[in-house]
Amino acid sequence: MTMAQTIKDTAHKKGHFGQFGGQFVPESLMPAVLELEEVYEEAKNDQAFIDEMEDYLTNYVGRQTPLTYAAQLTKELGGPQIYLKREDLNHTGAHKINNALGQALLTKRMGKKKVVAETGAGQHGVATATVCALLGLDCIVFMGKEDIRRQELNVFRMELLGAEVVSVDQGEGTLKDAVNEALRYWVAHVDDTHYIIGSVVGPHPFPAMVRDFQSVIGKETKDQVKAVTGRLPDAVVACVGGGSNAMGMFAPFVNDSEVKLFGAEAAGKGIETGKHAATLSAGKIGVLHGMMSYLLQDEAGQITEPYSISAGLDYPGIGPEHSFLKDSERVTYKGITDDEALEGLKLLSRKEGIVPALETAHAISYAREIAEGMTEDETLVICLSGRGDKDVTTVKERLGGDSHG
């Protein structure tokens, strides 16, 4: 059986990607996820919904985003022609709003008035607070206390936008704990509240639905690269935490076997130190947050606390479709350390005048390695998932104020 067949066949088993995915949620939530599945299936085939979404994406989010030729980076690396897909130029500064907007429109379609969300770095929280302000929805965002400390400006942005930000003290106070609290809140308020999950994670239909909303990234990229080079790119690289920007970039290319796909996950201080968030490199299959996927866990099946310099990659699970794409060897995933990511951040800042988010910096570092095996008549696209303004304080602390590193 070829890989393309495998992907096609498994797509028929509802809510699963091979053995991954599913709906591991309490019965109290099942009616809500089943309703969401039904409403989403209806909406995605409804031209009025598609038109409304496109109108907001064009006139509010600022799509389509540019594909920037990175001339200096191309010269520096001396390999393939490098292009940057500029998701950092979206309203709110990252790809997150593509999904938040889609789900907020679905919230209205379901007749619900309130939204709950989790956030790690704050990008998804800001995107959700933004679309809730736009569409007149009440918004409550759960955020780990450690992340609140690391991203205080984003907390203030969410509050300016009218959202209520709730600090989560459980666990280590990071993204996983914020998801737990958001799920608990959703169970208690499911009648009038929709949970806008921020990545391609959670119970079905979230992973497939969030991928679909983010697929605009890959679709645009495909058209833009073809317009410039007359053919598909040879390689595409994106960073992976939960994996939404990567899934949105990869999905339109998955069946184009000539396009190599690469995912950069966070290796933190090094996988061998145990302080990392490299779920695909070092995880084991299990169930968390409603899905079966690779997870970071100990020998007894307790989920362990991930670590990354980047709050957005600091998650012990990963989207189930990524787990499938890893096992089917369609996508190559690699861990990138904090130090390597910082080098990537400095490189892009110096060569292209773009300060990327720390999450994105992992993809840039991996791109440097991928470029080594490529030639100048080939094309490499980096998904520039977000801008780095939010991370300047963290980077400054880490580099000790020495911008020359």
Partner: protein
């Protein structure tokens, strides 16, 4: 053993004219050493069966009290395997049926077949898995069914009737009627819809219907038991054991008698 023992024991209590009372305790809270004594205490005090919680790092169906108990148990490094091993070595010290309450991940990590075998060897009679809806039960149910262990299904206030009928039809041991829209934890009152909901569930299943989540006082025990066949009490028992108070536990159990 297993499902048969659980169902026969519960029926014997109902035949006496008593209601069922299933206390929940967190295995490993206070250390694993106290577990055997706590089970013996609850058996002696007249509980119908014990729901024994396995600590998990991410208990999304649980409120603050049981979350905290789970964290305390994890500080004692108590694992699913430790609990099963202890139950195995102490299985001759008790008559009362044992129901394990665990999230899916520790089972997957243990290995589903190995888990079912270990449950049988340890004298586990039933299972409650809060994050395993009907849609996913094939991951686990076939293995535990083979060993004759009851898979107790949960019904929710949000479930439509067609789902409730399927759940009622499938459940083994008893039907766990979740009585709040939310997580576990003590509360003052229940919604007006709870009585009719439990009565409706009675018509959807041949098994006893037990109300759980939020059951806190002897009045709750009496009020909720009149609609169905009894109650499950979790957070209140967990916090009483943690505080070293046992008189109130006896009072709760007594409220289910006669």
């Amino acid at each position: 053993m297993g499902k048969e023992k659980l169902e026969q024991t519960l029926q014997a209590t109902l035949d006496k004219g008593d209601k069922l009372f299933v206390p929940y305790i967190m295995a490993g809270d206070g250390g694993l050493d106290v577990l055997t004594d706590r089970i013996a205490f609850l058996e002696e005090a007249g509980a119908s069966a014990i729901e024994l919680g396995i600590p998990f790092s991410d208990p999304v169906a649980d409120g603050p009290t049981i979350q905290a108990a789970g964290l305390r148990a994890l500080e004692h490094k108590v694992s699913l395997k430790d609990v099963l091993d202890l139950l195995k070595t102490t299985r001759n010290t008790r008559e009362i049926p044992i129901i394990l309450m665990t999230y899916v991940n520790p089972i997957i990590n243990f290995g589903t077949e190995a888990f079912a075998e270990a449950c049988e060897e340890s004298g586990v009679d039933g299972l409650i898995i809060p994050d395993l809806p009907m849609e996913e039960e094939d991951h686990i149910f076939p293995h535990v069914k083979e060993k004759g262990i009851a898979l107790i299904r949960l019904a929710a206030l949000t479930s439509p009737d067609d789902r409730l009928k399927q759940i009622g039809d499938r459940t083994e041991g008893f039907l766990y009627a979740v009585t709040v829209k939310g997580t576990t934890g003590a509360q003052a009152t229940f919604g007006e819809e709870v009585g009719p909901y439990i009565e409706k569930l009675k018509t959807f299943t041949s098994k006893p219907v037990l109300a759980g989540f939020g059951v806190t006082t002897p009045d709750h025990v009496r009020d909720l038991s009149q609609y169905g066949d009894g109650v499950v009490v979790g957070s209140k028992i967990v916090s009483d054991f943690h505080d070293g108070v046992t008189d109130t536990i006896r009072e709760l159990i007594q409220a289910s008698k006669g």
